[in-house]
Symmetry: C2
Subunit: 217 residues, 2 copies
DNA sequence: CGGTTAATTGAACGCATTCAACACGAGTGG
DNA sequence: CCACTCGTGTTGAATGCGTTCAATTAACCG
């Protein structure tokens, strides 16, 4: 019984072999424009999605109009694991997107059922870890630390010099439980401390990795 | 294909039939005193636990000493689903506890593997929903609303007049991402508005359900 | 180039925290 | 039965971090 990747993997929710295979065979291909809906809040959760290209954002709108962003999903990530009968968060294409969509029942019926179930369980576990980190972030870290964590996570995903940020400040703010102004202030502050550098608003580079990691703690 | 309970169930993570059966057969019985550890932070996650009696609390301690409480688990709830190879949160007995512990591999090897896997997946989904609610709570609700939500959740679990709170103010604060003083203030405030009533510090009764629900939103 | 949206900056406010003092309750021993 | 203590919870006053409101600047696109 091989234990698969025990390594600390900083990327998001990447499925195991068997799941990828199932997606390739059963997956319906979908292309989405910017800011279009993958599934709606309170929508029936009967599909899994795999991101092939672009970035997907999950978000939840409260009755009085406040918004909480749940996560950002990149190519290779699985979306829609936040299961139960209905979605608590909506999913939208942040950028132009290409997805594979698979009906859950179809995935279950797929040959090698146990392996697929286990793979989903594994991916779900990863998703839960991410959620737990998010809880700690929102519950016990200040604005500076939240923004630093966010930048670090982005930078770790693309360790090649410059990092592109597909999301705007409002999305960052709603993910981090802050306002757009506070996010902006923290960014300028981090840049002032020469920890990161922004050649443009949607692109940055880490200057002091250890300082950033220390803040993200 | 019966869909099991589609009803809005306000309780925590209750396992399906097959899982309960598996726990009954394979589960090692454990009794724990107050404030003893079920498993430690960063401990190997190779067990599932089912609460039979008492309340279990999960919590995470950051390097600089800040604490975030993840959840409180009541009899019938499953603990240790927050999987991945290692636990991100520790689990401790909040009160004197009685648990069933099952090795994950043993559970997998149990006859009717697929059913058990699916049951775990279902329980995990419930846990994820709870986490998502927690994220919204911490990210987008103020102190009053957080405390109100917490009381409401407790009250819904025991709809019989008086509600017992096994956790202290510090635990509440660390769960809600607040300080102990703020929690205390909000409680007196809610009592001042005659929404809840505290005959003693660890026991309360809801007076205005709709008002409480409106705040918890 | 204007027109529009997104992002930054500034100043004042307010909510939650911090620090400190006090109250309450349970357990112990005189 | 009261005095004492220790842990827990409440209350008060002052501070500060993040928000709010408003104005300015930068980026994007015709």
């Amino acid at each position: 019984m091989t234990q698969a990747t025990e390594l600390a993997d900083t990327r998001n929710i990447c499925p195991a072999e068997s799941l990828i295979e199932a997606f390739e065979r059963l997956g319906a291909h979908r292309c989405l424009d910017r800011e279009t809906e993958v599934y709606g809040q309170d929508g029936l959760a009967d599909m899994f999605y795999r991101v092939l290209r672009g970035v997907v954002r999950t978000s939840r709108l409260t009755l009085d109009g406040r918004r909480q962003v749940g996560a950002f999903y990149y190519p290779g990530d699985l979306v829609g694991l936040e299961t139960g009968p209905r979605h608590r968060f909506a999913a939208e294409a942040l950028t132009e997107c290409e997805l594979q969509a698979v009906r859950r029942t179809a995935l279950r019926a797929y040959a090698g059922e146990a392996a697929v179930d286990r793979a989903i369980l594994h991916a779900t576990a990863r998703e839960m870890e991410r959620l737990q980190e998010h809880v700690v972030l929102l519950g016990r870290r200040n604005a500076r630390e939240r923004v630093a964590s966010f930048l670090l996570a982005l930078a770790q995903r693309a360790p090649s010099g410059h990092v592109d940020m597909p999301m705007g400040r409002q999305d960052m703010a709603d993910y981090l439980g802050l306002t757009i102004e506070t996010v902006s202030r923290m960014l300028t502050q981090l840049q002032g401390d020469a920890i990161v550098e922004f050649p443009s608003t949607r692109r940055f580079q880490v200057r002091k990795w250890n300082a950033l990691e220390a803040m993200a703690a």
